[in-house]
């Protein structure tokens, strides 16, 4: 019996691996949509133009300009363990919108090219939307096209819309929370984002409401030479719960694309936010590293209220460069922060990712589980900070950062920072680095599983702790992604 189950499990995995091996970057295509584009470069006029185009309230424009002024004084950070040619920030289109259309009532009115894109991506926007039960706020380049399930959510008082819509309809909420977790002065890319962000998602869960479905957004960078500057803000009022999965794919192309998003989460008393990411942007040419996405993201949540919880789960397989540290500020007493991460690098990819857990309140707890896998000629770094402030009585942190190396051309690095200022706080950190188990591969080989499939199996097992945290349909996708990413890394 048990054997059968095992075989079944193996064949299931095999199926997945089979499906994905031998294919090139699956999502590498460019949809041809006419677009409304700002000229290259960045100055106050461009910012005014973006703001005017989106018919934003006055405070937003002021905020953007403040951020822009601050950004001009800042220097690009260079401390991360990544290398890339300097970015010319004046050589980027800061605004691109798909053909502007009047309000759409049905899917028929949507540009068919766009629908095709969605289909290729497998976004459950049409029939799938019923099956999957996912409300999708699909962002193509920078403007939201279609939001579904809105009514159902509205019944519960949940606001789930694009950022620009939120600015029109709920300016007071946006004004109250935006920039409170990631201020425009936070870092170079956050400042840039604050100045030029074009759209994103806004979620507001009222008091005591448990969001009945996964709120999901698919990002897609579509326009050539366009920087993508998304901004997401999620506010969970007291006693509420929301799970927000986010996934991305991008077309294959030659020029590097900059992506500098900002995500802010606010959790009040007893609220819980679960934010999951599967990131699969174009990683660049495996030989030369040319053409991949630069992913410079600032993600941070604040557990503002007592007993609140924020959980980040990420599966990072794409992008030429990943620079991303989803963090939690544990301000409320008894609040909880979690960070589960799998970062896979292959080819010429470089990832410098990790988290920050800032313990301020009493009895705060945090868990960090990070799994790094490097193959090919890639560099994969974990960089994290755990800080126990003076008031963090009985706070607790446990971190585990494991790295796996496949092949002798890659690098795996760990740079944790632990700062403890309270004697009752307890911090534990451990990290290991080793190569993929030869005896495990041998075991699989012996049973007729070839090495490439064996690697997929072993890696999936290695990451199980993290994958288990993902919403169901995401976990399946993530497993596929892991195997695709490691294709050709052995033998």
């Amino acid at each position: 019996m048990a054997e059968e189950k095992l075989l079944e499990a193996i064949s299931e995995d095999e199926k997945i691996i089979q499906e994905v091996t031998g294919q090139k970057y699956k999502y590498g295509f460019v949809t041809d949509i006419e677009s409304d584009k700002a000229p290259k470069g960045l100055n106050e006029d461009i910012i005014r133009m973006i703001s005017a185009k989106k018919q934003e309230p006055e405070f937003m424009l002021e905020y953007r300009l403040r951020a822009f002024k601050h950004w001009q004084k800042m220097k690009e950070p260079n401390w991360a363990h990544v290398q890339y040619p300097p970015i010319d920030f004046q050589d980027i289109h800061y605004y691109a919108a798909p053909k502007q259309k009047p309000q759409l009532n049905s899917l028929d009115e949507v540009d068919p090219e766009l629908l095709k894109t969605f289909e290729k991506l497998g976004i459950p926007l049409q029939e799938q939307k019923m099956l999957a039960g996912v409300a999708v706020d699909a962002v193509v380049d920078s403007v939201s096209i279609k939001t579904t399930y809105k009514e159902k959510l509205a019944e519960k008082g949940i606001i789930f819309c694009s950022f620009s819509e939120a600015l029109q309809e709920h300016p007071e909420l946006v004004r109250k929370y935006m920039g409170t977790v990631v201020p425009h002065t936070d870092n170079f890319y956050a400042a840039l984002n604050a100045a030029v962000f074009t759209d994103g998602s806004f979620v507001y869960i009222p008091e005591g409401v448990r969001c009945p479905m996964e709120l999901s957004t698919y990002f897609r960078i579509n326009e050539q030479n366009t920087g993508q500057f998304e901004r997401t803000l999620i506010v969970a009022e007291a006693g509420s719960y929301v799970s927000y999965p986010e996934g991305c794919t991008a077309p294959q192309r030659d020029e590097n694309q900059l992506h500098a998003a900002v995500v802010e989460l606010v959790a009040m008393d007893n609220a819980e936010i679960k934010y999951s990411t599967v990131q699969n942007w174009y990683p660049g040419d495996p030989e030369t590293g040319k053409g991949g996405i630069y992913n410079f993201v600032t993600k941070r949540g604040i557990c503002k209220g007592r007993n609140s919880k924020i959980s980040w789960t990420q599966v990072e397989t794409g992008s030429a460069i990943t620079w991303k540290y989803p963090s939690v500020i544990l301000k409320g007493d008894n609040s909880e922060g979690e960070f589960y991460s799998v970062a896979v690098t292959n080819g010429r990819q470089q990832a410098d990712t990790g988290t920050k857990m800032i313990h301020i309140g009493k009895n705060t707890r945090s868990v960090i589980i990070s799994k790094g896998i490097s193959a090919g000629k890639s560099q994969n770094s974990y960089r994290g900070l755990v800080r126990m402030m003076k008031g963090a009585e009985n706070a607790r942190n446990f971190s585990q950062c494991d790295s796996m190396l496949i092949g002798n051309q890659c690098g795996a690095h760990t740079f944790p920072y632990i700062e403890v200022g309270n004697p009752t706080a307890k911090v534990e950190h451990e990290a290991t680095t080793s190569k993929i188990g030869e005896d495990q591969i041998f075991y699989c080989n012996q049973r007729g599983i070839d090495t490439e499939k064996a690697v997929g199996l072993i890696v999936n097992g290695y990451c199980r702790e993290v994958l288990n945290q993902l919403p169901m349909e995401f976990a399946v996708e993530a497993q596929k992604l892991l195997s695709i990413s490691l294709e050709g890394s052995v033998g």
């Binding site: 632990i418 004697p423 950190h429 990290a431 290991t432």
Partner: protein, 432 residues
């Protein structure tokens, strides 16, 4: 007594002058190396907070004091500074200057143990061959030491020789009139198949601030072994910036113990180059801090060759307003396959105002390796305390026992029994 401070742009100049009253040329040892270090010094700057390496230790207050070079005086009796029952060759340095009257070298006749000021012709040849080959040239303090350090110890262990007795270096700081600057330089060369043990202990009797800028270069030859115990036992006024750099050849063994029980601001830069295959390295440390002490251990181990083993363990207790910082980097180069490297840092905080910063880092470019690091910070184990108390042991005594056990993991690895016993008694009286 008020200590003067320097301000403005002349800080560096004043600082260098305090440590370098004489020109580098005209010195007996390696004049060319010294001159080039002095030239390099011009372009170097003091590290500031934005330098990753100095993130947790502010340099400004340390370097802006107006120091004057320490006067050489002679104490009457050095017996309080000897380690009981340690039969060793003793070298005594007073305010950085070698004191032949108090030193006694009688056991190791085959070795070359000399003050850098009084080198024999053999000693000169060893110094010419090794001096300045290792110590970081891009660090302002190391460069300053290379350029201007006037005295220090040469330990040369010829090929195939096993030292008959350990070598004990005593660095003593005596009271001065104003904040004083001290500098010394060590060079240990252990030739192939040779073996030695060196203990260096630091004491200060001064109540005015002092800053010691220390530099040590160590070469461990093929199949050779060296154990080096550093005991930093100075007053709460004494600061120290230490640079120790080690090169290990094939099949060599090296252990270093950095024990910091006292002092003001202490910064220990330790860098170990594994230049040969199949080496074994142990890096051990204890720091027991109180008051406003600040101790920063910055260690790097560079695995450049395959089949090397390194093990690092630093443990510390931080009380009062003290601050402990630990950085440990394991760097595994691409050809260093089959590396085994382990690292661990454990901190206990005893007070609300104490701080502990830990940065255990792995930078790995080879795949067939086993590397791990761990770090913990917390308070004294409550269960253990309860266990002892429930058996009628008073709290103070129980605490002592727990601290003894905590430090014991490092202390017991010191091979010299006399040093072990001495250290245990010091640790036992540390938090009374």
């Amino acid at each position: 007594m008020a200590i003067q401070t320097n301000t403005g742009t002349d800080i560096k100049e004043a600082f260098i002058r305090a440590f370098a009253p004489e020109a580098p040329n005209g010195q007996p040892i390696a004049p060319a190396v010294k001159e080039s270090a002095a030239a390099a010094l011009q372009a170097l700057q003091f590290p500031h907070k934005k330098n990753e390496a100095w993130k947790y230790t502010p340099v400004q207050p340390l370097v802006s004091k107006a120091y004057i070079p320490a006067e050489a005086t002679e104490p009457e009796d050095i017996s309080p500074f000897l380690i009981p029952e340690l039969e060793a060759d003793v070298l005594v340095y007073i305010n950085g200057k070698f004191s032949s009257a108090h030193s006694q070298i009688q056991h190791n006749k085959q070795l070359c143990i000399e003050s850098l000021r009084q080198l024999s012709s053999q000693g000169k040849a060893v110094v010419e061959a090794h001096f300045g080959k290792l110590l970081n040239k891009d660090d302002i303090f190391a460069a300053l030491n290379t350029a201007y350090a006037k005295d220090g110890t040469l330990v040369y262990v010829p090929k195939g020789t096993v030292a008959a007795a350990p070598i004990h270096i005593i660095q003593l700081t005596l009271p001065g009139q104003a904040a004083c600057s001290l500098q010394h330089r060590n060079l240990f060369v252990v030739e192939p198949l040779a073996e030695a043990k060196v203990v260096e202990s630091f004491y200060s009797l001064s109540t005015v601030p002092s800053l010691r800028n220390a530099g040590t270069e160590i070469f461990v030859g093929e199949n050779a072994g060296l154990e080096y115990v550093k005991l930093q036992l100075e007053q709460h006024t004494a600061s120290q910036i230490d640079h120790t750099e080690v090169s290990q050849a094939r099949h060599s063994r090296f252990s270093i113990f950095t024990i910091t029980l006292n002092g003001d601001t202490v910064r220990n830069d330790l860098q170990i180059h594994l230049d040969g295959t199949e080496t074994e390295t142990h890096l051990m440390g204890i720091y027991l801090l109180s008051g406003k002490q600040h101790v920063d251990n910055y260690t790097q181990i560079l695995h450049k060759q395959p089949h090397c083993y390194s093990n690092e363990l630093y443990k510390g207790i931080v009380a009062d307003q003290a601050t402990a910082a630990f950085s440990g980097k394991i760097h595994v180069f691409q050809q260093a396959q089959k590396t085994n490297a382990f690292q661990s840092n454990r901190n206990i905080l005893l007070s609300k105002s104490a701080n502990a910063y830990t940065r255990p880092q792995l930078e790995i470019y080879a795949d067939d390796v086993k590397c791990s690091h761990g770090a913990t910070t917390g308070k004294l184990e409550e269960d253990a305390m309860f266990y002892l108390r429930s058996r009628g042991i008073p709290e103070k005594q129980a605490r002592k026992m727990l601290i003894h056990a905590f430090a014991g993991e490092v202390v017991e690895q010191i091979s010299l029994e006399a040093v072990r016993t001495y250290l245990e008694s010091l640790i036992a009286s540390r938090y009374e």
